[in-house]
């Protein structure tokens, strides 16, 4: 069957089960859009290409599938870079298709030409420029395979205009055919001898802890992780990316770890004698000062990416492999053991943790002005913890992480590694496309919501009932917090006293706008917003100088916490 490059792209989308893509058309992708228009694939027209990538990111995480976006050459392509970098840091499976100027123009500084393969080399898992139409189908299949396998990540395919227009023979891949790449063979199955070492370590450990991260979610390890922790009675903490892999309302849950981690999680990590790290990369926001991080512990680290192991923290037992497979292996090993042998003297350990918990719990006092934490508390209560929550970046993100107790994986969607403001709204659009029946909320600040506010038009166009919760403190709150604590309260460029009227803005976009200015309005506004079938902005005028606590100053040990 002879097909054009654009039609081949549609065929591969079909092979890969792509049903939704996020994009923005332009000159170099006219042929692709023409072909796309004749398929059943949903195309979500965003209002800025950065929005397309974040939306594909949100979609990928909520649907547990590979996200796809499609943009044109030049500025279309460069606008995707921030989103790609965020997806790369957070290991999100994604395929980005960029149009490119025609092959004969490449290198001539043609109109809307940019070397996007060169630009995105350091922030993609891999990327391709397809100059030969005969290679298009195999490159695209490889791109999808790379994006979702091993440690997932974004893969970019740059397609010159003439390649999307030329024709060649298309052949369906044979059923069950696998992609073989001699230079890429991720290790899934962990070394059994290494996994056995965990069992022997458990027999000696008196103060064990589990530290799980994004890898536990990506590999689908939540169930195995929960089973393991409960069987062996080991308390669990996690990184920001790992929230939801272990139930946030379970008695074994310690709360998040790190710069804004809970008092008990930070102390437990610093005291534990065994740490089982699952799908984490020991980011500086988690470890603080590395040479005293978990200094009393034997550290076991399970990760599919060998570069994550022994990068920031020395590890006694490295295990390269899929987190889910490793935990399932571990669970079956434990079934052959006397479980009491694996749970030494836990009472003392739990008593200690309970004491820490009672000394400094996460807390705030609701006064005359609305406390941002109170809004999230109420939102958690009203949604029974079932909502998919995306966030922007800053205080809003940290309060969401601290006060919305995630019980399931793939429900907390945040730009963890890159820390990219403007992420939450488009990510919520993607998540809502993936899960039309779920409550999807973007917990935002008044600063970051304005970074991709244009996507309100997208949400309204597609009738997406996304709930946007703006915690409005008229500041760039997290930066202001640092200025308060470390720059003698000199609030350089962090005051936002020219914000738009968010209620009117919502209305202008055709959405519902609600505002609460007093604590007693909070519940009413949340209820009304949750009940609406429309896209809704709920604005909460909050206590201006509320800070996120606990806080570990950058570079300090995680036991050096500033507390309320």
């Amino acid at each position: 069957m002879k097909l054009t490059g654009a039609q081949i792209l549609m065929k591969v989308f079909e092979e890969e089960g792509v049903d939704t893509i996020f994009g923005y058309p332009g000159g170099a992708v006219l042929d692709i859009y023409d072909a796309l228009d004749r398929t059943e694939i949903n195309h979500v027209l965003v209002r800025h290409e950065q929005g397309a990538v974040h939306a594909a990111d949100g979609y990928a995480r909520a649907a547990n599938k590979t996200g796809v976006c499609l943009v044109t050459s030049g500025p279309g392509a460069t606008n995707t870079v921030t989103g790609i970098a965020s997806a790369y840091m957070d290991s999100i499976p994604m395929v980005i298709i960029t149009g490119q100027v025609s092959s004969h123009l490449i290198g001539n500084d043609a109109f809307q030409e940019v070397d996007i393969v060169g630009i995105t080399r350091p922030c993609t898992k891999h990327n391709y420029l397809v100059k030969d139409i005969h290679k298009l189908a195999s490159v695209l299949r490889e791109a999808f395979y790379l994006a979702r396998s091993g440690r997932p990540g974004p893969v970019l395919v740059d397609i010159p205009k003439d390649v999307s227009n030329l024709t060649t023979t298309y052949e369906k891949p044979q059923v069950g055919s696998k992609i073989e790449m001699r230079s890429y063979k991720p290790t899934y199955k962990p070394n059994i001898k290494q996994v056995q070492k965990i069992v022997s370590l458990l027999k000696k450990a008196k103060k064990p802890i589990i530290f799980s991260g994004g890898g536990a979610i990506h590999s689908g390890a939540a169930e195995a992780l929960t089973e393991f922790a409960r069987k062996t009675k080991i308390p669990v903490t996690s990184s920001l990316m790992g929230l939801g892999a272990f139930p946030g309302t379970d008695p074994l849950w310690l709360g998040m770890l790190g710069m804004h981690g809970t008092y008990r999680a930070n102390l437990a990590v610093s005291t534990c004698d065994l740490m089982i790290a699952i799908g984490v990369r020991f980011d500086d926001r988690v470890t603080g000062k590395t040479d005293v991080f978990a200094k009393n512990a034997t550290i076991v680290q399970i990760d599919i990416d060998p570069t994550s192991i022994h990068k920031n923290i020395p590890v006694a037992v490295p295990i390269v492999g899929d987190c889910r497979m490793a935990l399932e292996e571990l669970n079956s090993l434990i079934d052959n053991e006397n479980i009491d042998d694996l749970c030494n003297e836990r009472d003392a350990w739990f008593a200690q943790i309970e004491e820490w918990k009672n000394t400094k719990p996460l807390a705030y006092e609701q006064g005359e002005a609305i406390k941002p934490q109170y809004v999230i508390d109420k939102f958690f209560e009203l949604t029974k913890g079932e909502a998919i929550v995306t966030t922007e970046v800053g205080q809003n993100q940290m309060w969401a992480a601290q006060y919305y107790h995630f019980n399931k994986p793939n429900h907390f969607i945040t730009s963890g590694g890159l820390g990219c403001m403007g992420f939450g709204l488009p990510a919520a659009i993607g998540a809502q496309m993936a899960c039309p029946d779920k409550i999807v909320a973007d917990i935002a600040g008044d600063g970051s919501i304005q970074m991709n506010i244009q996507e309100m038009a997208t949400a309204v166009q597609y009738g997406l009932p996304v709930k946007i919760i703006i915690l409005n403190n008229r500041y760039l709150g997290m930066v202001r917090q640092w200025q308060e604590l470390f720059y003698k309260r000199r609030y350089a460029s962090t005051t936002l006293d020219h914000n738009p009227d968010f209620v009117k803005l919502a209305e202008a976009f055709g959405a519902l706008g609600l505002r609460a200015t007093k604590p007693e309005d909070v519940e009413k506004v949340l209820k009304e917003g949750l009940a609406s079938p429309k896209t809704v902005i709920m604005e909460f005028i909050t206590d201006r100088e509320e800070n996120v606590y606990p806080m570990v100053p950058a570079g300090k040990a995680i036991t050096d916490m500033l507390l309320v």
């Binding site: 393969v117 060169g118 080399r121 350091p122 898992k125 891999h126 420029l129 790379l146 790449m181 001699r182 230079s183 890429y184 990416d305 060998p306 570069t307 022994h310 990068k311």
Partner: protein, 161 residues
């Protein structure tokens, strides 16, 4: 931890952009490339990159893992400490006037190098050696007046199997 010189032999897909991926990895992560040499192997689909880098043990482990993580990298071998042959090639253009032509020839013969170009007042010498031997040779020629030097990066192979 102390830094040490390592010689890496990396097999990669012979495709456009692969060298840029490797160089970008080193610059992006702050690793250091002391010398680099690249050419296709007997399999035209595969190129061999030979690289000399200086790093402590922890960084070296990361360098090897990070290289391996690049999709186009097939294998990475650290030859350091193994039994291997290492060579560099240099072309050296040196002043050769009547009063020192004999002396230059003598030195070249001692080292068993070759003169590959003879001009009225200069020679070009082709020298193949390990780095330190080449340095010693260049030092001996310096008083004669070296006009230009071009050197390749190191190349290396395991001995035997």
């Amino acid at each position: 931890m102390s830094e040490k010189k390592h010689i890496l032999s990396i097999l990669v897909d012979n495709e456009p952009g692969v060298l840029s991926r490797i160089a970008g990895l080193f610059s992006g992560r702050g690793y250091n490339i002391e010398s680099l040499s690249v050419a296709p192997t007997n399999d035209p689909a595969v190129s061999r990159v030979t690289m000399v880098t200086v790093a402590d043990e922890d960084i070296m482990e990361q360098i090897k893992k990070q290289l391996h993580k690049l999709i186009n990298v097939i294998t990475v071998h650290d030859l350091t400490g193994a039994n291997f042959i290492q060579r560099e090639l240099a072309l050296i253009k040196v002043n050769a006037k009547s009063d020192n032509r004999e002396e230059i020839l003598r030195i070249v013969n001692i080292f068993r190098y070759k003169i590959v170009d003879v001009a009225p007042d200069s020679f070009i010498i082709q020298a193949t050696a390990k780095g330190d031997k080449l340095d010693a040779f260049i030092k001996l020629l310096t008083p004669m007046g070296i006009k230009e030097i071009v050197k390749t990066g190191s190349i290396a192979l395991y001995r035997g199997n």
